[in-house]
Amino acid sequence: MAADGGDGVSGEVAVLGVGMHPWGKWGRGFVEYGVAAARAALADAGLEWREIGSVVGADTVRGGYPGYVSGATFAKALGWQGARVTSVYAACASGAQAVNTARGQILSGLADVVLVVGADAAPKGFFRPAGGDRPDDPDWLRFRILGATNPTYFGLYARRRMAVHGDTLEDFAQVKVKNSALGTLNPYARYRKSVTAEEVAASAVVADPLRLLDICATSDGGAAVVLSSMGFARRHGAVDPVRIRAVSTVTPRYPTTVPDLPDIATDSAVAAEPAAATFRASIARAAYEEAGIGPEDLALAEVYDLSTALELQWYEDLGLCGEGEGAKLLRDGTTALGGRIPVNTSGGLASFGEAVPAQAIAQVCEVTWQLRGAAGDRQVERARVGITANQGLFGHGSAVIAVR
């Protein structure tokens, strides 16, 4: 299975090292967080920076020009050593796109060992669009015309779930309770304090029906992974490394049926029948297909809980349960640590806050620690297969399946 038929044929790459800079609101530049994460990942891999053949940066739009060329920015900060460089941007999915770019370089033989880095220094308050008048930019338009912040979209999805599936505010609060408890066990999380359902209910409403503690914050943070060919891993002495078996980077299929950030409307289905699966569901489906596994094979999942309600939606979109059954899965403990399929053992965005280009890489870090059996008090027993899932603005799906 693993390396049968040689490196290229297996379609797998090895995760040699992972590293993170703790999430927080540190008030420093993104380069510092990225370099710290990169050094940690290199140390974890037992490699010198000079041995890296290619560096892939996940860009940030909040760091000026250096943020748009993050691969080179990190390479320079680590000390120019001539490595091939790439910088990618895909909103919240940037990190997964960076992982996929590195994987593509390895599987095509362009590079043997690749460093992937993403980091962000987040602004205070709501994410806002870039300045200037841009009536042809949907992101500018939704703020200009509707004042529609990211939380208002989360509010729309949450209210829809309550109306269609009968989810309750208590269900949403219990997602926060679960994730905050896991966050207390993670030294890289920004929030390391248990939260009660009463505290969620007492927090201010931001976008009805969601409250402050239902919605993830924005954070500073950095994450990095070192990926290599299976051959390099063997030569390097990594006998049984975690392997990335699939990376889904799918786009939606016309016509969309859910109003996705930052759009003001869905497509019209008047001339074309929508696909059976929504965009979010198709993200995981593509990853399962590529990996040759199904949801029943998973030991854990890291999903993008931008809001508590959205975590329940992911349960259904990953196929962990049927449509509308997400809240039931939470209520019966299936997705808690010790349950059949723990979700967001890292503490999730609820405990981290979003550091956009680093977040999808951080998800891969958590799955790697879990599959190595190195997740400490958060450890999922006998974890062999994990998935990460995420959706970025402007039609970017991402999911990574790792195995060991």
Partner: protein, 149 residues
Amino acid sequence: MSRTRTPVVAGWFAGDGDDFRLLGTRCRACASVFFPREEFHCRNPGCPGGGDLDEVPLSRRGRVWSFTDSRYRPPSPYVTDPELPWEPCTLIAVELKAERMVVLGQAAPGVTVADLTVGMEVEAVPGVLHEDAETIWTTWKWRPTGVTV
């Protein structure tokens, strides 16, 4: 000097009172409807192609797909008067049956989330986004049918 009434985006809506309509475009080749309007290319990948895009008014009425509100002042380019306290602004996503699409909009003044349920009928009405010394910036609002504001 009287102030001019200017749409916040040109060409997205027109008409007064009962004649008010959101304006999209429709592909002559495949009949796909677009809002915001596509001017040059149909986005249906199954479209045979070659069709021009004509302006088309959207259904005036639809059903609430979901709703929420902004309890905090949104950042620019949303325009607010920082001197005034922020009043929560209700947002509604509306399903248009004929077009088989969902369109977002602000609720008419005075409509709060407590007034709304998923599935309720609403209609597009003309509204004011904000005003300054020279201009009244106009937009569309969703209002529950039968409600007089």
